[in-house]
Symmetry: C2
Subunit: 466 residues, 2 copies
């Protein structure tokens, strides 16, 4: 084990690196990866010394002011916005604090029970286990549903590469379930324009990723009669109504506001600055006249990861000023990287995630080699003191993907007690993930270009409240 002094100098060097990367404005992935390493070093420091690492606050090394991310994390606060998620805790982001900070509401047992009553079915495991943990106005959606009033679902994805990983599926798995139990139409936005604006991509690359990613999304099992998937680059050019809503939103949001919400600066491109209106527009039903005709009053429900909330805080602020209903929201936690819950998974580090293209063997190797363990250093210690499910990534993954509540609880008990060893736990996870990914691959294989084209064509959808 490294000494505290060695670790300190490594931490200081890594902090310098993170700062330098930020100053050079390199990609989010690079910064994430460096920040992640910094967090792991700090975790090691604590493991070695029993104390939290504290940065030297000498005048030569002042707090970095308004710089995004690092200062909040160093002050013990998590940092979450659409481009950066940071926490120094191996348990991941403190979601209760986030609810308070964002001003959303906790999905409590009462709300889960109400959903169960409304749909007459067992709530999804993501609800039962607090993976979708926060909401805005979900009771209003249920009021509408119980009064036979229509609503629709809206979610999306930023297609930054062809490679999607397990974490990317979370909102789609949940949205598919919502579509099934509520029997409502769904629109899925592929923000290829956003990825073009933020990344070093050509327009054709971004659009190509949108189409490729759409295949993985379709493989989640969405109902083609009730689902419209669209690329911004394509749909903007095929619907005046969508552009009209974008302009409407853009008229009612100032640079001051997006600066406050997203941290944009004067050196950001005018494309980035105006983009939030494009992610906001699908929240309003008259952006889709082919689906909702001229109705502008149909309530929208947005399932998404909590880091997307800033877009919809802005949307909810604008909505009443342009005569539209505020969208409701269901927020999920982040899917942890194999290396630990300090950050989201990174599409650019193949070992940080299980990709949807991974083979059974790759899955086995990645879990065995990279999944951060909450177990003890030796089998003897583990049997004696037990493992820590709160930081164990294999256990976290099982909470996402193992449907059987009783079995999950038994695993939790056995691992905590030490009866279940890390190797055994990883084996269970591997046996859950291998068929899950293989079945996804099989379904994706069946998604032909014609099917994608159909999903992505502006058209009438079929649903109850027409």
């Amino acid at each position: 084990m490294a000494s505290a002094m060695e670790l300190t100098s490594e931490i200081v060097a890594q902090e310098e690196l993170v700062k330098a990367l930020r100053a050079r404005k390199v990609s989010k992935e690079e910064i994430d990866s460096a920040t992640q390493k910094l967090s792991l070093l700090k975790t090691s420091y604590k493991a070695a010394t029993g104390e939290d690492y504290k940065a030297d606050c000498s005048p030569e090394n002042p707090a970095p002011g308004n710089e995004r991310g690092l200062d909040a994390t160093e002050a013990g606060e998590d940092f979450v916005d659409p481009w950066m998620v940071q926490t120094s805790s191996a348990k991941g982001v403190d979601y209760d604090k986030l609810i308070v900070r964002f001003g959303s509401s906790k999905i409590d047992q009462e709300l889960i029970n109400r959903i169960e009553r409304a749909i007459g079915q067992k709530p999804h495991r993501f609800l039962r286990r607090g993976i979708f943990f926060s909401h805005r106005d979900m009771n209003q959606v249920l009021d509408a549903y119980e009064n036979k009033k229509p609503f629709y679902l809206y979610t999306g994805r930023g297609p930054s590469s062809e490679a999607m990983h397990l974490g990317h599926l979370i909102p789609f798995i949940f949205t598919k379930w919502l579509q099934d139990v509520f029997n409502v139409p769904l629109v899925i936005q592929m923000t290829d324009d956003e990825k073009y604006l933020w990344k070093d991509l050509t327009l054709d690359q971004a659009y190509g990723y949108a189409v490729e990613n759409a295949k993985d999304i379709i493989a989640c099992g969405f109902d083609i009669k009730k689902t419209f998937i669209f690329s911004d680059l394509e749909y903007m050019g095929s619907s005046s109504d969508f552009y009209r809503n974008v302009v409407k939103i853009q008229k009612h949001v100032t640079f001051n506001q997006v600066k406050g919400i997203f941290g944009f600066t004067d050196s950001d491109s005018i494309g980035k600055i105006s983009f939030p209106a494009i992610q906001a527009a699908p929240s309003f039903s008259n952006s889709f006249p082919q689906i909702f005709r001229d109705r502008a009053d149909i309530q929208c429900l947005i399932p998404c990861a909590i880091d997307q909330d800033p877009y919809f805080r802005m949307t909810r602020d604008v909505a009443p000023r342009i005569g539209y209903p505020k969208p409701a929201l269901l927020h999920s936690t982040f899917f942890p990287a194999l290396q630990g819950a300090q950050t989201k998974m990174s599409a650019s580090d193949p070992n940080s995630s299980i990709f949807l293209t991974d083979s059974a063997k790759q899955i086995k190797n990645k879990v065995n080699k990279h999944a951060f363990s909450g177990g003890r250093d030796t089998v003897e210690e583990h049997r004696q003191f037990g493992g820590n499910c709160d930081v164990d990534v294999s256990f976290m993954y099982l909470t996402f993907f193992l449907e059987d509540d009783d079995r999950l609880e038994q695993i939790r008990k056995d691992y905590t007690s030490g009866a279940l060893l890390t190797g055994d736990l990883k084996k269970i996870l591997i046996e859950v993930l291998q068929p899950l990914v293989a079945e996804h691959q099989a379904r994706r294989q069946e998604v032909t270009d014609e099917v994608v084209k159909e999903f992505m064509s502006p058209r009438k959808l079929f649903y109850d409240f027409q």
Copy 2:
């Protein structure tokens, strides 16, 4: 005649009013109108005292810093941007100074001769008389033309109301001539989205004005086989290629840049901030695949009033960075208001302009009653000292609309010598304008909804270089 003291207190009061209007951010028209009155008071002051009015520069009344417009004007500099044109000179803006400030090139006799040689026809009176006075890269366009390489024309209009006046026709009259003599395709952008963003209009109103204004533009005689007129609100929703270019431009322009060019502030809407990309996009031929297929390299020539130049300075700055040719430009002077050349005409003051809907009688009354005269106070004085064509609005209008050079020169001589009285000069103008407007009205009458629809449909155009 008012005393210098009376005028001073009127000027001071008017200055306070202008400042107050600016602080309240009222409409451009209101500020223009108040500023115009201020300029006229200063002109009267000079007439009464023989000296320029000088503001008190006491510490209580410091220069207003970065505020748009007034400071430049008070310092004897004209102020010109897409939303505000100000000068304190009755002769109008000093265009030679503007060429230096904007970094464009003067349209000199050599260039006019070259155009004449290229087209084998007499240059348009707007060229002969310096109404189109400035250019960027026009020689490059002529090089292309002489080498049988294609180019196309792009101009536009912000449809802020149904009422168009004579001044609005200037770029279209000239563009029609360019289309005829060069036999090239033309795209005309109606920035209804811009007007929605800047004015207190609904989207439907702005689009409605775009269609109404298109009728007046079509009545200028454009060739339906070679002309595409489009509303942004409509065309954005029917062309992915247009949106792709908009996003491309938006990626390569920062808020800092548009702040510098257009004077935007943090309180401006993100719609205004990102709009310049939408006015820039038609400068690139692949925004119109229905016309130019996939060619991105066809040179664009933009005839416009000089106040639109900031948009195209930005466009020319971006073009090479996204792999497109820079658009060339031909800049016109402003068409003076009836009350004098201090500002552009205002669509909101019916007496400042001859509207395209005015009857023969209204034209007669407006010219006789409101056209600022460079004549003397009495017939005797006029006969003795002669009139001043440099500030006489009737004479200025004749330079725009009287085709016969010799007759115009004779009028100038006679008015300057005093042989021609103000009443006679106004009579000549009335006799030029009445048939011009009546013929426009007759042509507009013939523009059916079907014709407008055809002009505004994205479609193939017919021209030589296909």
